[in-house]
Symmetry: C2
Subunit: 650 residues, 2 copies
């Protein structure tokens, strides 16, 4: 897929704040944590592990032990990738220098044979590659490869790319040349290897990616055989391997239902879609479509969250979407965006970008405190003080964001998604520019990228400026700065599922372009005077869920544009579990008294008051009441509260 | 407490069937399983373990290993106890002979020092008493003591009582004389020791029971210290002890919230109540009252089920009562009846007997298939085919009853409760006879039991016959056969919480006796001509739950008399998740087309039809519909079905 993140300069009243947060708060804060210079209650030692590994390799001696998860290295990798994207948006010599120094450190932690992983270097060098199921070596390598490609793309500096190429060759030698058996327990390296191939042209990486995809789930005894050979695990005694958990229960081309650990799943599916595209692999495409369908039609929350269960952080069964015990890992929503973006290349259809938008606003953004300092790993759709985060069944579903996690996968994942938003917002296929997500800013497309086979003498490229009112304003405004006379491209704009009566105007005149599979195709010579506006239907709406979702029986959710709303106690006299929405009520928009620029919703309904008894024959006393709702991404920014996305209706 | 089970001969159109089932199906079926003569998919070897233990003790050699749970012996004990009660109702020379033989076998499996436990005898004799937390020695001893007392009470045969007295003395020697530290991980022996004391008068057993109650939770490091001494467990590596799980997190007199494993909890609380009564121990009484309140007011399902979570089979937090993932173990409901029965002695109030009735009809009876052949361990209030029993979050919440369980605690517990129902149905305090549960039959009370201090020359005793229409008929009819002229007792009849306008008639005339704490006290010379009738209000009703119970927001349940109802798919065109009850609808009673004598309910409501999409802006299409409900105790007797107790209302 053509990656436009470098071509896009975000300039958006809504996302500017997030980009600034990532630059000014998230990246420096996470850097301090990785260096253990910030006390957040959880030690990281992620960079310390690299320092120790260097010591060990250079002097043979260490004064401290490896600390952290077996995949602690990936925190460093994701931070580096995030830093690279942020440098693209905000050049920063100091940050870049610190990255260079970190990369230098990483290089010195690499073995002579190309191997790189601080857990094994420090803890058990003799156990390298003996536990693909649980030891995350390929996962860590994958993340560092993604960082390498990103850092090279942005800075042009090759050092990390070379380090990871050596690691890639080491892996190629092992799994291809020497035919070592197996496939990773946590997919990630597949996607990373394809990016390495795109960045370097070294087809070893593509061969290796295809190999890991092809062999996955073919030998459904591999993890057990691996353990028979060498019975150890970084996680203690773990019992027999769960192949569904790792999407290794059948060959990937036979997989139709999204199962197992949700992050593993969508990382794998994204790689499958990428490989299907690169290889024009019909079988793989069909699997990808089926897996997408399984998620979109049966296993996804209205917020775009995926993974219904804490147990295995996993998908469960069709229509099992409990709200208060939802897992909905932030990383899984990010992976779903990765998957959707690639599906758009295979099968252009707004159903993919609609879900990407759903997940971005309602499962990625809520993962971060509005001030950028705290994070949710888990994103429940209902929160009950006294139960959420407390009951043995709800330990995972915290009601407020902690500063950091021992398993710190989510915060740096948010930090690497937001500054690379251009990759997801825009697409390019021959001379069609796709406007998938409506993030304001300027996209710069040159003739070379358009790759038109027609008249090459005139530069058809130029810049497209999108001014977007979303998520609270209803207008999109596209204007153009052609390099030549005009940009003779087709602009394909997503018509979001939530906008019923979308009006498109060209230079003030309503136009009716071809709309196919959710995209409006506007052809034409766009000159510097051309103005395209899209008037979206941003009326708040009530959403109903399939009656097979038991936890949503007789409930509705409110949405407005791309945003899902929720009710919090603080706006509703302390309680929301006792509220029912009148489904015939007018929904009013009101300015948030707490958050600048945010629009809340107000609707009429009932408050039901019961006595103190657990059960009673008395009908609850009912009173009409206003119900106040806030965008779900702003929840839990004002202390501990009852919170509910799906409310009963009358 | 005065135990009236032997005084009561069940004769009740509803319960006769159950008593017959226990006698003809449950006891023989379970006997076959314990002997491994019936293939139910799970081996038992419970009696086989005793045979092996005898072999080992007698010849020093065994040809087979112990099999089953560490508490496998308790299956035999509970079966024996059930058989004893059944023998009381239905003398059966063959069964009694088989019991005698089994008791003989048990006696031969006893060590010379009195110790009895086949797990330790067979597997690790050197580890006796080294893991009170997890190895269930005291638990197994407790159950065998209860069996011993029951068998002695019914048959007058002392062999098992003597065996268990020797075991009791062995324990007394260890824990009292030699002052060994500790208390059981699973309470049960406390209650059993108090029963042994009542049966034998040996005060060692009372001293030991009081001791285990008193030391519990005082040393909240005991289990860990135990493990430091000898690090082994019958359950594999288990991690640090969870003291709340075992109600050992604080001294029992300080415990106010019902926490941890629900069966452990109520077995302990029942023993505490019994000890409080025997010792007139105010501190213990207050704790018992507080613990009861915690359950009744905050942690109990409308069915009387307790234990909200599979994790630890445990209580969770106040108002956390999920329906589809409920645990609600059958054994826990039985234990709650044990607890309630003893609370009635401490604090006569119908709130205890109301809960006992709730649990009996709606959490014990549903534990057994109507034909007596299959059992539920877990009693969810909502069942969703495709999710229940299948999703990783619902593995425990089976939608249909299996034949048997590897952990077979529940089936024999049902079998020992039902034939001893007189113990729970009736009470006696001086000359007041309490009619707690309305199970028909004849209660025989003689002068000696009445223990009146007044005129001893005339026998005030006699028999009380109760004809009860419950659960489907509204009338209770008490008649009398005095030994002398008249029974000059007071009859205290529970006025159930669900009956709004209870009318009491004496010889046809409406009377208005004193009603105090839920009991109507009817004094008087009851002659052979006296007829007391109680006309109960058996109109079906809608129940609403406290708005703090998140899973019941905007829902109601239907009840009729003591029975909680549910809707099953088979009666509602396949689906119930899409139904809402009209709260203003008339509720009709209709005869069950499937089960003889059973009354179903019919109410009007809406069926909501949604399209195939997971989420939609379209309001579900609504159609008025009849909703058919069945008594919850009859659910899952007609195959796999959607089932719901709490339905949304409009």
């Amino acid at each position: 897929m053509k990656d436009l993140f470098k071509n896009f300069k975000v300039d958006d009243p809504f996302f500017n704040g997030y980009e600034q947060l990532v630059k000014n708060v998230v990246i420096p804060y996470q850097e301090e944590i990785l260096h253990d210079r910030e006390d957040v209650g959880e030690k990281s030692q992620a960079i310390g592990n690299f320092e120790l590994a260097v010591k060990k390799l250079e002097s043979g001696d260490i004064d401290q032990e490896f600390y952290g998860m077996v995949f602690q290295d990936s925190d460093v990798a994701k931070w580096l990738e995030a830093a690279a994207y942020s440098l693209q948006l905000f050049p920063d010599r100091d940050l870049e220098q610190r990255c260079d120094e970190l990369i230098d450190l990483i290089g010195r932690a690499q073995w002579e044979d190309g191997y790189l992983n601080t857990y094994f270097t420090l803890k058990s060098p003799d156990l390298r590659w003996t536990n693909l199921q649980l030891a995350h070596e390929l996962y860590c390598a994958g993340h560092m490869m993604e960082a390498a490609v990103a850092y090279y793309d942005v800075t042009g500096k090759e050092e990390l790319l070379n380090i990871m190429s050596r690691m890639g060759e080491h892996m190629y030698d092992r799994f291809i040349t020497k035919k070592a058996e197996g496939y990773p327990g946590h997919p990630e390296v597949e996607l990373a290897l394809l990016r390495m191939y795109q960045a370097t042209g070294n087809d070893h990486f593509k061969i290796l990616a295809d190999h890991f995809i092809d062999v996955r789930g073919v030998d459904t005894k591999f993890y057990d055989k691996e353990r028979e050979k060498k019975d150890w695990s970084p996680w203690g005694n773990t019992g027999p391997a769960n192949y569904e958990y790792s999407q290794a229960h059948q060959p990937v081309r036979e997989q139709k239902d999204a199962v197992g650990h949700a992050v593993r799943a969508v990382y794998l599916y994204a790689a499958m879609a990428e490989a299907a595209l690169m290889n024009d692999d019909e079988g793989l495409k069909e699997s990808c479509k089926a897996l997408w369908k399984s998620i979109e039609n049966k296993r996804m929350y209205v917020t775009g969250a995926i993974g219904s269960a804490y147990e295995g952080e996993s998908f469960t069964e069709d229509y099992h979407l409990p709200n208060d015990t939802a897992y909905g890992e932030t990383c899984a929503a990010i992976g779903l965006i990765f998957f959707g973006r690639r599906m758009l290349e295979l099968d252009i259809n707004s159903k993919y970008s609609d879900v990407m938008e759903r997940a971005l606003y309602n499962s990625v953004l809520p993962g971060m405190q509005l001030d950028g300092s705290k994070f949710f790993y888990v994103n429940p759709l209902e929160s009950i003080p006294g139960i959420s985060g407390k009951s043995v069944t709800h330990k995972h579903a915290l009601p407020t964001r902690p500063n950091w996690f021992a398993c710190a996968c989510c915060p740096p994942n948010v930090a690497r998604l937001l500054p690379s938003i251009g990759r997801y917002a825009w697409g390019l296929k021959e001379n069609i520019v796709f406007s998938h997500l409506f993030v304001g800013g300027v996209l710069d497309i040159d003739q070379g990228q358009l790759g038109s086979r027609e008249n090459q003498e005139v530069d058809k490229g130029g810049t497209i400026k999108l001014e977007s009112g979303l998520p609270f304003g209803h207008e999109l405004r596209y204007s153009f700065e052609p390099y030549g006379e005009e940009m003779s491209i087709t602009l394909a704009i997503r018509m979001p599922y939530w906008s019923e009566n979308t009006i498109i105007r060209r230079d003030g005149q309503v136009i009716h372009p071809l709309v196919k599979d959710g995209y409006a195709y506007i052809q034409g010579g766009f000159t510097k005077d051309t103005i395209l506006t899209v008037d979206l239907d941003l009326r708040p709406k009530m959403v109903y869920s399939n009656s097979k979702i038991a936890s949503n029986s007789n409930k509705l959710a409110l949405v407005c544009g791309p945003l899902v709303y929720c009710a919090e106690g603080v706006d509703n006299k302390g309680h929301v579990l006792n509220l029912s929405i009148n489904k015939d009520s007018v929904i009013e928009k009101v300015k948030s008294p707490d958050f600048e620029g945010v629009i809340n919703l107000k609707v009429m309904g009932l408050v039901r008051e019961t006595g103190g008894a657990l059960y009673s024959f008395d009908q609850p006393r009912e009173r009409e009441t206003e119900i106040n709702l806030i965008p779900y991404y702003t929840w839990s920014n004002r202390g501990l509260n009852e919170m509910r996305v799906w409310l009963p209706y009358i």
